[in-house]
């Protein structure tokens, strides 16, 4: 190994890859086979955490940061004056295997700048994954980037080796994309996504009939949007998300607060704060769509195009819909319970279980762990003294905020817990 050279490449190509926030290594069912190396049938493990609190689970690198495109929001863009480097296929294989053997990582997340053309780049990514699987008998986790514009044949092949595939649409609106990445078009992003989606559907149906059907991208697809680089509203972002969840059966949509990396006039200037709170609110809204049975049209509308900064999106929704409250904890169905501010999905399960034996009162609810400072204004239970006063949404909001002023800070700085897919936050 040419150690110094590898080290330099690793520094450049890890640094360039870090803006992709996804680091999930769960959801695959690939078990160790033939006494080879690795196993990704478990939960996914964070082997370390960066100083910004993000999970380190995969070796996340670019194959190269040479790129023929010039997307304004990207450090790798052609016109940016930076050091360029490229790994050889074997070098990535060796790094992955050796990091994995030492229990540093769960696997590899390989992305790349686009050199020559989409297919040429995609072929190289596949070559790495194929070598890992076939020559090294590696059963760890592999996440490959789908290169926009890559051909269907290559996307088919990629899914045979990768656990997850992702294309980052990055810019939520077509007009924003036109402004910042004029040489890219939206269809190029969608094409590989569509192919992968169809392959997954086909795999699932064939698998039922023929047991030996080769496994295809078992951890599904994900995508990422940059937040705050262009002027999109939260509504535009979340409607786009909802579309991707529905149309492409995405496992996850990630939101990445824009980190200023350029003096380009079209973008927020260097030194602008990363919009972390907004990012956090979007993740909360995303959670409501995926686990709490909300429809995006309930959370964001033309009249209400942005999430509240000062209260979480579920509380915001409740304040706009006071006519649906109070809810009786002892009789309401599951979906209704899930909509009460301060009641997380875990509490919903516990309530449903516990109320079979007795009617629940405040004391029970506290023990179950629901956030009473928010919930108490929205529920009735088996206690007489509940909040009966009619209050306006504004009054309620300020009362709740006053009570949770100290907690607010805490909730804000633990936002990054959301990257941990096991952590279901209480909304």
């Amino acid at each position: 190994m040419n150690f110094d050279r590898i080290k330099e490449k690793l520094n450049i190509l890890a640094d360039a890859a870090k803006y992709d926030v996804s680091c999930s290594s769960s959801g695959s069912k690939r078990a160790n086979k033939n006494k080879g190396l690795g196993d990704s049938s478990g939960m996914g493990i964070c082997h370390s955490y960066t100083e910004d609190g993000r999970c380190v689970s995969l070796l996340k690198i670019l194959l190269t940061n040479h790129c023929i495109f010039d997307c304004a929001y990207c450090v790798t863009r052609k016109s940016n004056d930076i050091k360029r480097a490229a790994f050889k296929v074997q070098e990535v294989v060796d790094l992955t295997i050796n990091f994995y053997r030492r229990n540093y990582i769960e696997g590899l997340f390989l992305s790349s700048g686009i050199f020559k053309n989409a297919d040429y780049t995609m072929e190289r990514l596949i070559a790495v994954a194929k070598k890992l699987r076939e020559e090294e008998n590696f059963n760890g986790y592999i996440h490959l980037k789908s290169i926009p514009g890559a051909s269907d044949e290559l996307m088919r092949e990629a899914g045979l080796y990768a656990d997850r595939l992702s294309v980052n649409i990055e810019i939520p609106s077509a007009s924003g994309l036109k402004l910042l990445a004029p040489d890219k078009n939206r269809e190029d992003f969608l094409k590989p996504m569509r192919k992968v989606k169809n392959e997954i559907i086909q795999y699932k149906s064939e698998k039922k009939i023929i047991k030996s059907t080769p496994i295809y991208a078992p951890a599904g697809q994900s995508t990422q949007m940059i937040i705050g680089a262009t002027g999109e509203t939260d509504a535009q972002i979340m409607y786009t998300s909802a579309y991707f969840y529905k149309e492409f059966q995405m496992k996850r949509v990630y939101y990445s607060g824009y980190i200023p990396i350029s003096y380009d006039k079209r973008l927020p200037s260097i030194g602008t704060e990363v919009p972390m709170l907004r990012e956090n609110r979007l993740y909360q809204a995303d959670w409501l769509l995926r686990f709490y049975g909300f429809d995006v049209r309930e959370l964001l509308t033309k009249e209400h195009p942005n999430l509240d900064a000062d209260v979480d999106p579920k509380l915001g929704w409740a304040l706009r819909n006071l006519d649906k409250f109070p809810v009786n904890i002892n009789t309401a169905d599951r979906n209704t319970l899930a909509r009460i501010p301060g009641v997380g999905m875990r509490s919903v399960h516990k309530i449903i279980h516990a109320r079979r034996y007795r009617n629940l009162n405040w004391e029970h609810l506290k023990n179950i762990g629901i956030a009473m400072n928010r919930a108490k204004y929205f529920i009735t239970c088996d206690s007489k003294d509940f909040e009966t006063k009619d209050r306006t949404p504004g009054q309620l909001k300020s009362m709740i905020m006053q009570e949770s002023a100290s907690k607010f800070r805490k909730a804000y700085s633990s936002q990054l817990n959301l990257f941990d897919s096991n952590a279901l936050p209480t909304l």
Binding site: M1, F3, I6, K7, L10, N11, A14, D15, A17, K18, Y19, A31, N32, K35, G36, L37, G38, D39, G42, I45, C46, H47, S48, Y49, T50, E51, D52, G53, R54, C55, V56, L59, K60, L95, N98, F99, R101, R102, N103, Y104, N137, G257, I259, V274, M276, S413, S414, L416, N417
Partner: protein, 254 residues
């Protein structure tokens, strides 16, 4: 009060339970042998570990409470928390007598046990994540740990499944034993470890040149993947409490 002293093994503990049912003392406390806080009025007895007795108790518990119960008892035992034996004894009596479920949290022993089990489980997962193997000159992937609880027996399956094609050894420095996988089975071993095994300046005595290079690459990777403008040390320390930093080569000062 009667006191049984045992050799701090799990089998030893189960042997005590067996003897308890044979001798039926009125009140009993079970303590490890190295524990010497005996009062003048106590009668203490050294219980000899008997695998057969242990087996019978284990089977009985499984029959009565299912594998959920036995798993919980084993995990709570591994916590080594002072007095845990007596809480387990108190639960076991109720389990045999009235079939008290390990999930009946209204019972204070069950509640306490479930809390301890959770803590032990968390520590086990931390070790799955934070073990850092280093390849020795003999080609063994070697790691040392010093967990809060005695979780090593719980880690074995995870590492065996994952590292089926390499020899590895994880050594608990606190409890002075390790588990070693020789490409076929995992065995418990005791070693005389050199005291400088984890000393940076001596590393080249024990580990390959390549090993030291990969450590450096990993450290480099860790630094490159950080986003400075998002730094949040409070959250960082919450995820990786400082007492675990010693395991992590990426957190060694360079």
């Amino acid at each position: 009060m009667a006191i049984y002293r045992y050799d701090s093994s799990f089998e030893g503990f189960l042997s005590c339970i067996f003897d308890f049912y044979e001798q039926k003392p009125n009140t009993l406390s079970i303590v490890p042998q190295h524990h010497n806080a005996l009062s003048f009025f106590d009668t203490s007895e050294d219980v000899i570990t008997d695998p057969e007795k242990a087996q019978r108790v284990w089977k009985g518990l499984k029959q009565k409470g299912g594998s959920e119960t036995t798993t919980a008892i084993h995990r709570a035992f591994l916590s080594e928390i002072e007095g845990i034996e007596d809480i387990l004894l108190s639960y076991i009596i109720k389990c045999f007598k009235e079939g008290l479920s390990i999930k009946n949290y209204a019972d204070s022993d069950v509640l306490r046990i479930s809390k301890v089990v959770k803590m032990v489980g968390r520590e086990k997962h931390r070790m799955d994540a934070f073990v850092r193997f280093r390849e020795t000159k003999d080609g063994i992937y070697f790691a040392t740990i010093a967990p809060d609880f005695n979780v090593l027996p719980l880690n074995s399956t995870h590492f065996k499944k994952r590292y089926a094609d390499q020899k590895w050894l994880i050594y608990d420095l606190k409890r002075k034993y390790g588990i070693y996988y020789d490409l076929h089975t995992v065995e418990t071993i005791e070693l005389q470890l050199s005291s400088d095994i984890n000393t940076t300046s001596q590393a080249s005595l024990y580990f390959t040149q390549e090993e030291l290079q990969y450590e450096e690459l990993w450290q480099n990777y860790f630094n490159s993947t950080n986003i400075a403008s998002r730094k949040n040390m409070r959250l960082h320390v919450q995820h990786v409490p400082k007492r675990y930093w010693k395991y992590l080569s990426e957190k060694k000062p360079s």
